[in-house]
Amino acid sequence: MKIICAKNHEPGAREMRAVYAQSVVKLIEAGEPVLVTDADLMRAIGVLPYKEKYPDNIFDCGIAESNMIGVACGLSAEGFIPFTHSFGTFATRRVMDQVFMSGAYAKMNVKMLGSDPGVCAALNGGTHMALEDVAMMRAIPEMTIVEPTDAVMVEDLIPKIAHTYGMFYIRMCRGKAETIYEEGSEFDIGRAALLREGGDVTIIAAGREVVEALQAAALLEKEGKDESANYEFSGGVFSGSCRGASGPDGADRHTGQVRRSRPGRRAQGALRSDGGGHRRRGPEGRLQKVKRECIGQCPV
């Protein structure tokens, strides 16, 4: 974990999807058993230009998301590391049972990308806005959710996700995201980064919400609550990750056990105890643990 905060939060030079595509292709070029598949949205996620060059590693399943997840699980059983993609809605809602049984219950190793989740679906409208994807995926004990914030994080995390056995749901917008981290930043799955110190309010954010949270902190400062703390979870807001990141031992990321116990409750508990409006009496020790991971302060 090495956090270098960007000086300003301008949109990055590269689209998130381009970085995703380059990152998985880099793994393929390195000879890793990575396969990339899609449900007719390779053009949308930027993988299509590489398909011709790597026909053994990149293939389309057609508009058949259920089969795509199943095929990926079968490939995983044979030792491959499949990355699947569809829009966030179809990557989760549409294939919940396949993800659960063929993937998580069978303890497979599939990396599922859901793009343009939530309001990122923008002009595609309400039918395409996955607002419940995190809630659904979080309910699956074997699932790790990752929500990269910017292009730097995507680039750093994709190889780590590939090299961490298990089911992953990656949710991210396709376009350019505001830069929060400088090149050279390194992240741990499930580990929080403290982006701004403070004691009045704790804001926990992931992905697109991080820049919003920083702006909210600035507003709060103007209103007099001048010591706000922003957390960002490189491993997303998933319960185990959340607790592991902010628990008594800042390095505790044995999230599997935690998640298997009572995922929903853990998440709520974690948010309540560590972020639920504590003021001066907040868990100082816990903050200290996380602080040490941060070598820069984000400007507001």
Binding site: C61, G70, A72, G74, L75, A77, E78, S102, A106
Partner: protein, 281 residues
């Protein structure tokens, strides 16, 4: 041409699989009798010589794979696995008990010899195709066998698979449909109007072999040979079977998931023993 001796051996094996499965049902008092009994002859063929397997090394890389997409027929598969030495026969009596390695529906993380977790219908077929694709990518010459229920073919995912396998050149896939024509709430035609499964697969680009009696090991073996000859397409073998076949109390009654008393099981086992004696005479 398969020798008469081999056919006799497989018929005896099929009867033994039925007996062992009945012992499982007897121990727990209930189970998916119909759809287990209908496939025992296929299990005998696959685990009695067709499949390249090593029971002492269930994860052997070079093995042929088998995926029970109609996962509820696990008990028949477990019987075949136990009789082939994947685990002790006594373990069959733990079917569905707390802590068992033999759950109602097949689970690749629990049972030696089970290649994929199934139970939610339609899904095993997709995972089988992924496994077949993986074998091809690894340049293995393994076959991937997958068994579908006929009612399972009402799932949309089955037809996503039907498009996928020929398009991706998965010629190492040999599928079977247990076409016993009965599902929980009636016949296939009554419940959802599904018919002509073989014709449908043919239209999707599969090499289809129709087996008039899917409970006859000789016809099953012949169909598998024909499937292997058609090396340019994936194959689907339609097994016209009888749900509950060979189980005295289950034939011709509702048998999808039924209670099994000790007396019923013993009577059915005695009948199967008598059938075996006849074969050996």
């Amino acid at each position: 041409m398969v020798s008469k001796e081999k056919l006799k051996e497989l018929r005896l094996f099929a009867a033994d699989i039925r007996i062992a499965a009945l012992e499982e049902f007897k121990a727990i008092g209930v189970g998916h009798v119909g759809g287990s009994m209908s496939i025992c002859d296929l299990m005998a063929c696959l685990y009695g010589g067709v499949m390249r397997i090593d029971p002492s090394n269930p994860r052997w890389e070079q093995r042929d794979r088998f995926i029970m997409s109609k996962g509820h027929a696990g008990p028949a598969m477990y019987a075949a696995l136990a009789l082939r030495g994947y685990f002790d026969r006594e373990e069959l009596l733990t079917l569905n008990r707390p802590g068992t390695r033999l759950p109602s529906h097949t689970d690749c993380n629990r049972t030696p010899g089970v290649d994929m977790t199934t139970g939610s219908l339609g899904q095993g077929f997709s995972t089988a195709l992924g496994i077949a694709m993986g074998c091809k990518k690894k340049k293995l010459d393994s076959y991937v066998y997958v068994l579908l229920g006929d009612g399972e073919c009402e799932e949309g995912q089955i037809w996503e698979c039907a498009i996928f396998a020929p398009a991706k050149g998965l010629t190492n896939v040999i599928g079977f449909v247990d076409y016993n024509r009965l599902q929980i709430c009636g016949t296939l035609e009554e419940v959802a109007g599904l018919s002509g499964i073989g014709e449908k697969f043919a239209a999707f680009g599969w090499h289809v072999v129709d087996v008039a009696d899917g409970n006859d090991v000789e016809q099953i073996l012949e169909a598998i040979d024909r499937a292997k000859e058609a090396a340019d397409k994936p194959s689907m073998i339609i097994l016209n079977t009888k749900k509950g076949k060979g189980c005295s109390f289950a034939e011709d009654v509702f048998n999808h998931n039924m209670p099994v008393s000790a007396e019923q099981a013993e009577e059915a086992i005695a009948a199967l023993e008598a059938y075996k004696a006849g074969l050996m005479a």
